[in-house]
Amino acid sequence: MKFNSDEIASVLQAEIEQFDSKIDVREVGTVLEVGDGIARVYGLSGVMAGEMVQFPNGATGLAFNLEENSVGVIILGDFLTIQEGDEVKALGTLLSVPVGDAVVGRVLDPLGNPLDGKGPVQTTQTRPVEIIATGVAERQPVHEPMQTGIKAIDAMTPVGRGQRELIIGDRKTGKTAIAIDAILNQKHTGVKCFYIAIGQKDSAVASIIEVLTRHGAMEYTTVIAAGASAPAPLQYIAPYAGTAMAEHFMYEGGHALVVYDDLSKQATAYRQMSLLMRRPPGREAYPGDVFYCHSRLLERSAKLSKELGGGSITSLPIIETLEGEVSAYIPTNVISITDGQIYLQPDLFFSGIRPAMNAGISVSRVGGAAQIKAMKKVAGGLRLDLAAFRALEAFAQLGTDLDPATQAQLDRGYRMVELLKQPQYQPLSAAEQVVSLFAGTRGHLDDVPIKAVSQWEKDFLQFIRDKHSTLFTDITEKGDLTDEITKRILDVIKQFKSGYKPVVPV
């Protein structure tokens, strides 16, 4: 391949000829001190809060603290080459990031710079990172389902498009796994996904990107990464930047799913910045406005009204707790902001119940309205039944003799728990979930040994896919359990059971 130097020269010539030079008028200040990702600047007398400034090394900053004699600036980039006495230039604009189809499938930093080595983001469209969320009149109640593909969640704590559902739990309880499964399940639904990694190990982010790529999910997903080695200001703005990219699709009438992994690290980054800026510390040394920091972010997830195109942003914020302490400051804040939470417990996780969701205290405050009718019918009392089962199970451990009715309830419970287990990266469609929960809640599994339930379900679903695939399409289309469909499911179960011998794994 030979490069055509005449063509290159002519392009450069055209660029230079079009160059229009105006006198550069700028508001400036001087760096007084710099360190830990923040700088104090003298001057910049006309700068406004949140305005972008630029340092001589090309790094941008945000005016964060406006004080009587100086301006506190958070540095979004390399702060090691900034020196005392450097000239700081106010840019007169707010921080914005590239948006649109060009960001889909990319791995970006919170400023929209590529991290995946696939060249610059080719777009002229941008959106400001910090905006005030839409008001009451511009919204409508959540009514469409946002299927996560996980039986336990779609049955008991359903999520609707436009909802904020918190995923909370200790470390190593499968929080990220749930979010990743939800992203994988958005394939072919047109929902754009944004995975925002805040303060995580870069190796963890790399393996998530690898999983997404392997399952073909990077075609509709953007990863925004501010790893543990990124300066605190970048970790702080990452969720706002990701939300701005998602908002572009929402305001065009599309749907987006945003995963914030995780907001406790963002709060820590914000605490670091605030303390360095000498803002007064409050509870757990977080600044007074750490609640607003999260509420203004999550408030931007919305279901827009029909007049505005009906687009939505569904968000799955993640919070990591310490030793199951949900009454710590940040967990209580985010619990109170979101529309429900999925609570993951380590003891469930280690006893093999994965997803390790505690059905008793996990709730979805608005998602019920978004559940398809068929799912409502099969999973209606599931949450309460499971809670009753848990109470009974504790009682049964005492070794007392049980009457047959109680024993039957216990047996059903064991099988439901077994049925709600689901391997990672294998999201199920709504129709598949309906059929398999139907078998469980209507007692068709009662004669299957507990240990054989997962295999039974797997083979059963494969049987339908192979021989009765119209059943799935009909359930998906109708969205309801009509008498006709119920009869067909019953027939299929009967047919399957007649030729199937449950296999108990050794």
């Binding site: 230079i16 079009q18 160059f19």
Partner: protein, 208 residues
Amino acid sequence: MAENAQHANVLDIGAEQLGKIYARALLGASLRENTAEQVLDQLRDIVTDALAVNPKLAAAFESPRVSSEEKSRVIDRLFGNSVNPILLRLMKVMAGRGRLGYLGAVSRAADLLHDEVAGRVVAEVSTATPLTDDLRNEVAQRLSQSLGKQVRLKESVDASLVGGMVIRVGDTVYDSSVASRIEKMGRAARDGFARQLLQQSDRFTSGV
């Protein structure tokens, strides 16, 4: 405050703020008696001649271990006959409040405030070559017109600008230097070329 003088280029914002308060008081008092020019000149002389040349005197003024009475006596002995009584009283008040170390900041702030009151601004002009008289007059005149204030020029020569000039008034910089224009043009050409390259890369290659 430390007794040994701080590093010269460290800007102590607290001191500047304090200086501003005393400067406003000093300017108010001296303007009432129409001696502002004289008082400010004398204050500047004290800071640049007396204190800068005698670090020991400056250290004594700053030191909390020297009592305020002692400082007042020193002030009387050194400046009693030579300076305006308003300035003398200011120094004694500052001595009494343990703020005598901030005289430099007061002087700087008072100069700025006086310029502001008199409708004057200082414009720092940087050029690649020294300004000629004609150019200096023209720059001063044009600046006065556009700012609506009397302009005092503070000139400096910076060869790295290549050509043109950079004017700074307060915190605002008007940059029409050749260096910054070349830099901007270079960036525009680079961005434009990168855009074209990604959009139609085959245009720049010929053959296989």
